[in-house]
Amino acid sequence: MRGTPTSVLTQVVSRLLLAPILVIAVAVLVKGYADVGDGFSAGVIAALGILLQYMAFGRAETERLLPIRLVPLLAFVGMLVALVIAAVPLLRGDAILTHAPGPRQDVVALGTLELITAVGFDVAIFLLVVGAAVGIIHAIAVVAEGEKR
């Protein structure tokens, strides 16, 4: 992260890997309710993919290529979504975090992705984890550059 020049090979491989990593993250997220993985794992995978770009290209180049400045905002969006999903059942008089649709009700499914609020909650966790991890990476990178100068 100190901006030591990395070889072209590292850079090419890192860039090539970014899309697959993000796809895997989304797959882990979407398939979370049916298979191994959940929003947290998906968030960490995505954050690791972005961290790889920092390692290979340094901060300035990575943040030129990717909208990194917006990613930390995701943390707050995720927190907000999670709180909304938790609080909305209260308005209907249910217990906190009661998910809809309830047991044995029909669910709209797109492949393995089921449209239920529990999945929304998982997505919120994903957003929060990506946002927090990338935000911390960004902050560390900024300070590390300052140290070097």
């Binding site: 992260m1 960490v44 975090l97 998982d122 927090a132």
Partner: protein, 751 residues
């Protein structure tokens, strides 16, 4: 915010309109005989949203909205001047009015709340709003100090109110005041609860021994002082006493306590007000002295005294807010002078304000034709019922009030002109005049005020009260007492040059041994204690860890020794499919032992990561792929972030730390502590795993429920659904940790 400036400019008229409409609504509702609202709030705690607009409620709600309207009209012109003197933007007005309106609404809620819990909520809301309002000039350390002091004194004592409410609830099973009044019989619990509630009220009304916060709170902008410290915040204390009076009354101890605290406040406040130089300080001492009258009247007991107390609150709030606004106007007109010794002769250049404030001061000093005259008359009548000592005390107290208010007014408006005077906006003098007019009208047309106070007294005591407020030009006792008090006041005023040194010595002694000193010492002591604990906690992490592990281990070990061991520790063979697991666990052990060897930080981080990785391999063998996946990912990102953070630390610090020799005592202590606590944990885990579980475990219950959650992966269903609340808590921790880390990296010492 889009065009915050324009919005801020509109906030003054908005707040004024809100207060005026609120005043009219409360007035109309009261004229129609009041009413109640009762809604479920927290049924499991028996807390209800119950409001009642009775005499007390109407009185304080009318004060909060009426004086509020006058103060808002005043600050419409005052606040822009105040902000421009300090070079602040007008958009900050928004915050002022938002907080003032919050305060006003909480005050109306407090006045009408029937439920003790609800009362407590509004009580604290007023405290919080007042904190921000007193600290409105937040760049001034004095403002922040005063605000914090007001918050601590009234906030800590607010807990007493809550404790009192809970005591009553545990005894009678209700928070509703009307039910409590019916069932509560004189008993130790009621006395104790009454004491606690009365203490909370005394602290809010700045009565001795809590009086010291009020003068400090004068660092607030003038409209805040005029509102909070005449009609609202300080009045909330006596409102609480009036509201819970039927309960307080059951114990003579509480009534006597009120009497003593009130009398002490009258004396301390009055004497100190005679010598203070700062305009607003004089008024602050005068305020808690005046509320001392009200508290004394409640302490005297009986429906007449309760009604008289209510009457007094009205008269005082109108007069005192007018005087505070006068102080602000005078300071503004004289170019920022805040001391009596710098002012003088302003009567010639500001005749309107001088006349209006003279009426306001006369009302508090109980001169005829003002509403205050009857307040004092009722005060004397209540004192007369009590006996000679109370009567003489009342006369002296009234004389004291007369003396310091005359001094206040004369030093500002009479005498030689000392300073050039600027014109002040009409709205400012208009607000003073409106309040003075209210005091005059109340002094001539007395029926409405008397009726309101009578209603309030009835609400406090449950007995109907008829207040007869009319002028009698004869030599009845109360008239003689009034004449006597004015004479005493004049003597006190004239003899002030002689008595001033003694009064200053009194003030000095109070500063040395008074409660403010105790407050300061307590806060400083708590600060030192907190620093010391912090030092102790962070200086040596290993010692802290050992201090938790060793006693914890000993306790657990004692438990293990006390339980029968027969059959508790089972040793069985390893089946073939468990071989991989054992190999994995052996790897984990090796990695863990290896992590104790390295001295360089980077190597240590990598060794710890290798422990984690081998442990995730074990999870994978154990048939927990979800856990294994999370473990691998967490180990990866944490190892990388660790390395990233090490890159931020100066390498010479890391090298120096790594090359420090271990102290001899530590060389043996740390491994021994580790071995001991590890061994205890091992024994407990062994014992727990040796017991076969007969009942259905939580795990299989979760597996059974997974299809109901529309899931096929149990772990995700647990995280997002079954234990969703835990997860919500955890992600909140992640969010807070994120904010903390970024904050540290951006502004902390790392930069």
């Amino acid at each position: 915010m889009i065009d915050a400036g324009r919005f801020a400019r509109a906030s003054a008229p908005l707040a004024f309109a809100l207060a005026a409409v609120g005043f009219v609504v409360v007035l109309v509702l009261w004229a129609r005989g009041g009413g109640t609202v009762d809604l479920d709030w927290i049924p499991t705690l028996d807390a209800r949203l119950s409001f009642r607009l009775d005499g007390i409620g109407a009185l304080y709600a009318l004060l909060a909205t009426g004086v509020g309207a006058a103060v808002f009209a005043y600050s419409w012109r005052y606040l822009p001047l105040h902000l421009s003197h300090q070079g602040r933007s007008r958009s900050e007005e928004l915050r002022f009015y938002a907080l003032m309106v919050l305060f006003m609404v909480s005050m109306v809620g407090l006045a009408t709340a029937e439920d003790l819990l609800l009362l407590f909520v509004f009580w604290d809301l007023t405290a919080i709003a007042s904190y921000f309002l007193i600290a409105y000039d937040r760049h001034e350390p004095v403002s922040r100090y005063g605000a914090l002091m007001a918050l601590i004194v009234t906030g800590v004592t607010a807990v007493l109110l809550l404790v009192g409410a809970l005591l009553l609830y545990s005894e009678y099973g209700t928070f509703a005041l009307d039910e409590l009044v019916e069932v509560a019989a004189p008993s130790a619990t009621v006395t104790l609860a009454g004491c606690l509630i009365a203490l909370a009220g005394l602290a809010k009304s700045a009565q001795v021994p809590f009086q010291f916060w009020l003068p400090r709170a004068m660092a607030a902008p003038t409209p805040v002082s005029a509102y909070l410290h005449s009609a609202a915040m300080v009045a909330a204390g006596v409102l609480l006493i009036g509201r819970t009076y039927p309960l307080l009354e059951r114990s003579q101890l509480v009534l006597d306590g009120l009497l003593v605290a009130g009398a002490a406040s009258i004396v301390v406040g009055g004497l100190l007000a005679l010598t203070r130089d700062d305009l607003k300080r004089v008024l602050a001492y005068s305020t808690f002295s005046q509320y001392g009258y009200v508290v004394v009247m409640y302490g005297l007991g009986g429906p007449l005294a309760a009604a008289a107390a209510a009457f007094y609150v009205i008269a005082h709030a109108i007069g005192k807010s007018a005087l505070f606004l006068t102080a602000g106007a005078v300071t503004e007109a004289s170019g920022g002078r805040t001391r009596l010794s710098q002012l003088g002769g302003l009567g010639r250049s500001m005749p309107g304000v001088a006349a209006a404030s003279a009426v306001a001061a006369a009302s508090i000093a109980a001169l005829p034709l003002t509403v205050g005259f009857f307040a004092d008359e009722l005060f004397f009548e209540a004192a007369l019922e009590r006996g000679t000592a109370a009567t003489v005390g009342a006369m002296l107290a009234a004389g004291l009030t007369f003396a310091y208010l005359s001094r206040f007014w004369l030093l500002i408006f009479a005498g030689p002109v000392r300073v050039p005077v600027h014109r002040i906006p009409r709205a400012m003098s208009g607000a003073v005049a409106a309040l003075a007019l209210a005091a005059l009208i109340g002094g001539v047309v007395t029926a409405p005020v008397a009726e309101l106070a009578g209603d309030a007294g009835e609400a406090s005591t449950g007995l109907p009260v008829e207040l007869a407020a009319a002028y009698h030009l004869d030599l009845r006792t109360v008239n003689l007492l009034a004449l006597g008090s004015w004479a005493i006041g004049l003597i006190g005023l004239v003899s002030l040059p002689l008595t001033a040194p003694a009064l200053r010595a009194f003030a000095h002694a109070g500063a040395r041994v008074g409660t403010e000193r105790i407050y300061g010492e307590t806060i400083a002591g708590l600060n030192r204690l907190s620093d010391r604990i912090h030092d102790f906690e962070v200086r040596d992490v290993r010692t802290r860890v050992a201090a938790v592990l060793v006693p914890g281990g000993i306790l657990v070990l004692l438990g293990v020794i006390a339980t029968p061991t027969e059959g508790a520790y089972v040793v069985r063979g390893i089946s073939d499919d468990e071989v991989a697991l054992v190999i994995g666990l052996a790897l984990v052990s090796v990695a863990a032992l290896g992590a104790t060897v390295p001295r360089r930080h980077l190597t240590l981080a990598l060794a710890l990561a290798s422990v984690g990785f081998s442990l995730s391999a074990v999870y994978a063998f154990f048939g927990a792929p979800d856990v294994a996946l999370v473990a691998v990912l967490v180990e990866t990102i944490f190892a990388l972030l660790f390395i990233g953070v090490f890159a931020l630390l100066p390498s010479r610090v890391l090298r120096r730390e790594a090359s420090l020799p271990t102290r001899l005592s530590r060389r043996w202590r740390d491994p021994l502590v580790g071995l001991f606590s590890g061994a205890v944990a091992f024994i407990v885990a062994w014992g727990a795993l040796s017991r076969p579980t007969a009942t259905e475990s939580v795990g299989s219950e979760h597996r059974r429920l997974t299809p109901d959650a529309h899931a096929s992966d149990t772990v995700t269903a647990i995280l997002a659904d079954f234990r969703g609340l835990d997860t919500l808590g955890e992600i909140t921790v992640v969010a807070i940790a994120f904010a903390g880390v970024v904050g540290l990296l951006r502004r902390g010492r790392l930069r």
